[in-house]
Symmetry: C2
Subunit: 427 residues, 2 copies
Amino acid sequence: MSRWHSHSHSTISSSAALRLAQLSSHFTPAVSSEQSSTMTKPKTSAQAAHPLTLIPGPVEFTDEVLAAMATPSQSHVSPQFVEVFGDALALLRQLFFNTDKQAQTFAIAGAGTLGWDFVAANLIEPGEEALVLHTGYFADSLADCIATYGGKPTQLKAPIGDIVTLDAIETALKEKKFKVVTITHVDTSTGVLSDIKSIAALVRAVSPETLVIVDGVCSVGVEEIRFDDWDLDLVLTAPQKAIGVPAGLSIFIASGRALDVFRARKVPPTSYYASFAKWLPIMQNYEAKKPSYFSTPPVQNIHALLASLKQILAVPLADRFAAHARMSDRIKATIASYGLKQVAFREGYQANGMTAVYLPEGVALPDLLPRIASRGIVLAGGLHKAIATKYFRIGHMGVSVTDEDREDFDKALAAIKESLAEAGYTM
Amino acid sequence: MSRWHSHSHSTISSSAALRLAQLSSHFTPAVSSEQSSTMTKPKTSAQAAHPLTLIPGPVEFTDEVLAAMATPSQSHVSPQFVEVFGDALALLRQLFFNTDKQAQTFAIAGAGTLGWDFVAANLIEPGEEALVLHTGYFADSLADCIATYGGKPTQLKAPIGDIVTLDAIETALKEKKFKVVTITHVDTSTGVLSDIKSIAALVRAVSPETLVIVDGVCSVGVEEIRFDDWDLDLVLTAPQKAIGVPAGLSIFIASGRALDVFRARKVPPTSYYASFAKWLPIMQNYEAKKPSYFSTPPVQNIHALLASLKQILAVPLADRFAAHARMSDRIKATIASYGLKQVAFREGYQANGMTAVYLPEGVALPDLLPRIASRGIVLAGGLHKAIATKYFRIGHMGVSVTDEDREDFDKALAAIKESLAEAGYTM
């Protein structure tokens, strides 16, 4: 048996196994009960009755987005599809308030996770340092990804539910030269919201050449992100959160500075599929409405992306953010009125698209989630390893928030209250 | 400017630019004309009228598959989705006549191309040798992918339109030790069909430890592949070809031997997203109907995969292959009756799911494809760099073949004949 196998690999395997066991343990209750869950017909939707998915992604989708997923076949180089893909890439810029054409938007068959490979394979060379700001589970995975490509991640960890302070970041930046700083805008495992604007300004002041990378998987479309104004270098996301499109895409925007850093690499990118060299000309061509080929794009998913972006951008983004903030405030206040505490405890640093809630004393996940599921509402268990069995998560992004006539959260909050009572909890 | 940038990178860029220019040149005609193309309502389908996509992928999809793409939101760890994903992975085995449970099927958000990264990052260690059998464009890309991960590809090239002979393969195998041999089952750029059964038997006899890797992107679902009986190690494919599902997945099956080779690696896989270490436990869990998480799977695409697999496996695979062979024979005979020649010229080594056809003397792609498009039929231009402007391609896979009542190829063959005449060609 090789040295790698006996050490690193078995570590990977056992930690993966542990994680799976943890996940299974708190999902299994829902497995048995959800079978009998009430199917809910959203009031304003033509969709078949189904359990309402109110987790931090995938979220509920609009009828128009689902119809776009069922677009009849099109050649990936047909004029019809080139138009759709080009428009989607252009509209994506608006989500980031981006007008600087040195930057480029990307939408590639894959997943949010694949965005980390793009960062690690293209913007960090083997041996280069990365400062990973840790506000939950996803920073561990991102650090793992960076190390996979030969980068050297240093994690700066906040206590569970808290942010990494600007002071701590400044101290770290002064200790050594980092090629990139990564920030999880909203860590889906804790609901902590990082202040990327202030962090980016600090990085630019203290270490001007360091690239600022934002994991916006649970933030793009619900939290304000001014890519140009805040001088960010790469923001990656996934479609199944606040963008409101089924999973299946890796979406990101890279700055001109990031692309220049890529162009100046000493060694070529160490991924084939996740290579800027392959995809940059493709995205540039499609956005210029020219057919182009490296690997067949997911035609239907791109149609759905365009359909959703058109719906999102039909109202000012400020209104969209405000609607999410209002719903978030309402959910957080209601949860507090039930006597429950949030994982993300620091006021002002709580996500607007999700809430992570500690279970009350004496109520376990298997006591609660199945009861909520039986009321037609699907919520998520915990994900942060250290506290996974002690909390649950509510996602409040997309059409469930913006279309109040659906009454999704009236149902969800009532279901939580009733289920808590059924589980023996007295408010 | 770095050394890498001034050499390898500019080579990559200029070859990519060249390829894009070539592609643009033969797709542009279709761009202008297809706008006015006849929209065709497939006779037996509920889909909106649309140009019939009869290219070597994406192909036309069934109504059931498109409906599955529009499945309302589901949690990726919900019992409903776990059931669907598990069933899809199990049914995928049947496409490969696989019953050996040491092997594992995978379906991951991405593209056919990503399958190459899985091979190069997991089954070949840096410095190890790969023998790449070249029957067209896609072997060049696969060799590029292998080199990206530090493997050493040796290409064995057939003349355009021909196969690599068993003698040539045997000679190469005896010259040095190869970690893997890769075979493009059907090269989509030429329509050449390789005899993977005989090649696999030869490899096993001459170099028993060498892994046999099959790029089945344009073959799985239309050509017979007996994974266990033929002792193959990995077959990768994409959904938008003969599996009849929209693009957006990387699909593959890996043998127990391949997984053991992976487990015995000296260094960990050099990709994060395309890592067996990450995905193997996930696939095993879903197939065992247990929820599991590494990266959010594309819920709707997996529903569509299951829908299509159920339709495909509702009839014996032998009947499906025979139907494709009959249609292929008919198309090839009709093309020959028009006086046109195939790129894949060797009898018995021609794909059953596509036909690459040389243009007649005096007719250029811009003279032909737009005329065909105006009749509601979308065909593809050339892709093999050396002959790209000299031929066109017809895809004949999936529902357009198996549902003869659609009459897709009656229309397509008539459109080709009429368009050739219009372009001034006399048969």
